[in-house]
């Protein structure tokens, strides 16, 4: 099918996955308030994977599946020209797979959590669907205004989700903190858009590209605009020094939300970050190269060093996610085809391993907010060898160890850096990785090499069926991409092809 955006209706086809998600979100919302889901034995122990509340979860998964179908359908669609507000290219569609995968995994791991903590299932799942639609807008946007719309749709849903456990003060604190700092960063972002418009006369990324490349843009304004946009994105991807909110929010938010935020929100922000900078500001590479270089270096070093001393697992994983943002910023600094493809590939793997790790954390935490300290893991591995092994694989993958997808992802990022000859940054990346070994392995040694404080310490650990499903998907794909990454690599590479044609000379410019 040919998409011709002069006809309004064609926007509907181009936005089909987003529309499916939004509509489905409303359906879930209505189903949630219809009353019969507020069952009497709410909050009891047990495995209600097929209880009334969980029906909403399965319903949500169906919606995600439909959106995935729509996303797959878009592969058969060609767009005419590249000046529309919405891109229908491989880059967007690959990113959509990541968002859908993250949403599906998050829904799967939250069934029992929602039940135990007596959360409103309908709102919870609907917010996830709305936020996912927002992420898709960001990934598909060819216009800064659309990115902003997507950013806000996503962020407001996530603010609410961070504060979703309203009986918990930490969750409320997380929500408020995230909201205040998020609003603050949005201000930067919006002002950046305004200045870009002032400098180039457009908010369309293709037009910005043309304007910047032809030196028509006012250079002074442009530099400030680039800096402001970088700050706005920096907040969302939690790059140092804009990371201050991350540990507190990740610690306080409900664990499934943390898992999802750390993967999907970051992915959405990175995808938009890449499109704006690689395509829009392609010709201004020399201007933003040093900014990104330092941002990447400081993020990697700081996050990995602070993570060393964390005792709370959620905080540790929060700093780990900041560190991973640093690795991805290396790819942005490199700004070439391998780096962009590596970014997509890495985000996919990162989603799998991070949500997987958080899922095991939720199991250890009794599907609630208990036992979140690393010391609580003593002897966990031998008590629960199955998920103990899974957590070990997730940690090794996060550390970037051979045999896991995390290793291939890191190699891909390093290849991107090599193509732009960023040797110093590569060395900083691997040295900070050595530091990261310490805190990932610390969990591994506590769980396998220390004796539990009491015999039945881990007897209450439950892995409900849906979470089991999610864990198997995560581990399976991590191992598979760790051994046979070829298909995923080629897919990621072909997905960034369209991006390059728009930017014109994205490859080779990165020096």
């Amino acid at each position: 099918m040919e998409l011709d955006f002069s006809q309004q209706i064609h926007y509907v086809w181009a936005l089909l996955p987003e529309i499916v998600l939004c509509v489905w979100g409303m359906i879930v919302l209505i189903a949630g308030v219809s009353g019969k889901h507020q069952d009497a034995d709410d909050g009891a122990a047990g495995d209600p994977s097929f209880g009334p509340k969980s029906d909403l979860g399965w319903l949500t998964l169906l919606g995600i599946l439909l959106a995935a179908g729509a996303n797959g359908w878009l592969y058969g669609v060609n767009e005419v020209g590249d000046s529309s507000m919405i891109a229908v290219d491989g880059f967007r569609l690959f990113a959509n797979w990541i968002f859908l995968l993250a949403a599906a995994l998050t829904v799967l791991i939250s069934f029992v959590y929602i039940y135990r903590l007596r959360l409103q299932a309908g709102e919870f799942y609907a917010l996830i669907l709305f936020a996912t639609a927002g992420m898709m807008f960001m990934a598909g946007a060819r216009d800064l205004i659309v990115i902003f719309l997507g950013l806000e749709v996503m962020s407001i849903a996530v603010y609410a989700l961070a504060a979703f456990n309203r009986r918990d003060r930490k969750s409320a604190e997380a929500g408020l903190k995230y909201f205040l700092l998020g609003a603050f960063s949005t201000g930067f972002f919006l002002y950046g858009i305004a200045l870009v418009y002032g400098a180039t006369g457009s908010t369309n990324i293709a037009a910005i590209n043309t304007s910047v490349a032809s030196m028509a843009a006012s250079p002074g304004l442009l530099v400030v605009a680039i800096a402001l946009l970088a700050i706005g994105f920096g907040f969302k991807v939690s790059a140092v020094p804009f990371h201050m909110w991350t540990p507190d929010v990740y610690e306080g938010a409900p664990t499934p939300v943390t898992a999802w935020m750390s993967a999907a929100v970051k992915a959405a922000a990175f995808v938009a970050f890449f499109r704006v900078f690689l395509v829009g500001f392609d010709a201004a590479y020399d201007t933003w190269f040093p900014i990104m270089w330092w941002l990447a270096a400081i993020t990697m070093v700081t996050a990995n060093l602070i993570a060393l001393v964390q005792t709370n697992v959620k905080r540790m994983l929060a700093y780990s996610s900041i560190a991973h943002a640093g690795y991805l910023l290396v790819a942005l600094t490199a700004a070439n085809e391998n780096a962009a493809a590596g970014m997509l590939f890495y985000l996919l793997i990162y989603t799998l391993m991070n949500i997987g790790a958080f899922a095991v954390v939720m199991s250890v935490a009794h599907q609630a907010e208990e036992r979140l300290y690393i010391d609580d893991y003593a002897g966990f591995g031998w008590a629960q060898p199955g998920i103990g092994l899974f957590l070990t694989i997730f940690l090794l993958s996060l550390a970037g160890f051979p045999g896991t997808g995390g290793f291939m992802g890191k190699i891909y990022l390093l290849q991107g850096a090599a193509d732009s000859e960023l040797w110093v940054l590569s060395v900083i990346l691997v040295l900070s990785t050595v530091a990261s070994y310490w805190y990932y392995l610390r969990v591994a040694w506590v769980m396998w090499m220390k004796e539990p404080t009491s015999k039945d310490q881990h007897s209450l650990v439950v892995v409900p069926l849906p979470m089991c499903l999610a864990l198997i998907v995560c581990v399976g794909l991590i191992i598979y991409t760790g051994i046979f990454p070829g298909a995923a690599i080629d897919f990621a590479r072909s997905s960034v092809q369209g991006l390059g044609s728009l930017g014109g000379g994205m490859l080779g410019l990165g020096l």
Partner: protein, 549 residues
Amino acid sequence: MINSMLESIGYTGWILHALIWMPILGMGLVLWAEEETAKHVAFWWSAVVFVLSLGLWWAFDPSEAGMQMVSQTSWIASWGVSYSLGIDGISLFMVMLTTFSSSIAILGSFNYIKVRPRAFYSLMLLLEAGVVGVFSATDVFLFYVFFELTLVPMYFIVGVWGGERRIYAAIKFFLYTAFGSLLMLVGILYLFYKAKTLLGFPTFAYADLLQVPLTGTEQLWLFAAFALAFSVKVPVFPFHTWLPDAHVEAPTPGSVILAAVLLKMGTYGFLRFLLPLFPVAAQHPTVVTTMLVLAVIGILYTAWVAAVQPDAKKLVAYTSVAHMGFVVLGIFALTVNGLQGGLVVMISHGISTGALFLLLGMLYERRHTRQIADFGGIARVAPLLTSAFVLTALASIGLPGTSGFVGEFLALLGAFETHRVFAVIASLGVIFAAYYMLPMVQKVFFNALDKPENREIEDLSRREMVILAPLCALMIWIGWNPTPILTRMEPTVRAVLERVEAAAPSGQTSITLEDGSQVVIAPADAQAPLVDPELNDDPPDDAAVIDGE
């Protein structure tokens, strides 16, 4: 006859794959087995793997210098990574040593490992697969994957089944080695990037990377990155501090594998990567001098440290550093004798130090102590154990007629041909070896049988005899008849040296002695032109920042 039999089953086509994948298959069997029978399954499985690997001895063509039994399958096509295996005269012995010591170590751990046997034996098999992979990979990416993969099982073996300070030792081992190898990864990617731009297609194949021309400066930086990774692994003197900790805390089989094969991955890396890939840097006088100085310091310093250890296992751990010093000395002598000597020391050290750790493990199982002072007069109650220990100790010292002598003598001879001073100083290490080893033997096995606990010590059991007999036989066999080994490694060693010499700067010459060995006149004091006029400073040895911007 054996050759035709091997040929009829297509041995050379599948053996290397089998040696990697059979242990991994064995992991599944061990995990599936009962707790009590897991050790038997693991042992018999590894024994089968070892017996299969014996065929390599005959299937290997001693006249061929390059890779043999090569097989290549594309793995990650878009990165140019292939799953390609092959062995030459350097890796042949390492592969056989690995399969041999793995099965010996598994047999030796029957009484030592009492908890969680299934997990332990499956990790041992995973380790075996990883090490065989390291020694037979001919794709640098594949090599790196296996190189790193060996860390994980060893980390858990030390950390879960080790002694009191096991966690500290495990994490130290892990971080030290990972630090080095990650810098090497950047080096590998640099080579890959160079190859991609020069050859026009992505490739990690070892043979392709050899074709990449590098300037002297590049070679020095890359040499530093690779040398750091391998030096930590060996370990070369200033990077050795993880080794005593890891050895002391590791369970006996872990120590055996660590000493017998894991350390060899470092010196193997020297021979496989450092010399052929960066020949200019490898014979840069400053580099050679630095490596030789570190080797000699390693030999002498650790000998002195070993002499004062009250813990017998720690003593043996330090002797490992000294032995590996001889290997490095032999390699950087850059002569045929030196390289061959280094290789023989690698084999001999694998056998004799592995045996020492096994023997100490046997003593520990009987007395639950490793302190030298707790023993005395064991010879009277356990004559067989004592005989085995004395023979092994003598082989470790390098007494003529044992394997240790052949290796150390050749290494020293090789060093003497090019760097007399170093050879003379290093040969003091042989005397020191007697100085630390023999008093230990005397205090433990001879002297008076004055402690009542020691009267109860039993002599070797049948299983222990089965373990020690092949080790002792090998020590003596290599000591008396090293020729079959030397002839198999010689063509490859010559090829490595020829590659190094071919890259020699014009001012440097090499001469051929009557016996056919090549001698490089290394310009340690001569006015030979430097590799790169910009680079007169000391080469970076501990930092490997590759600056390309």
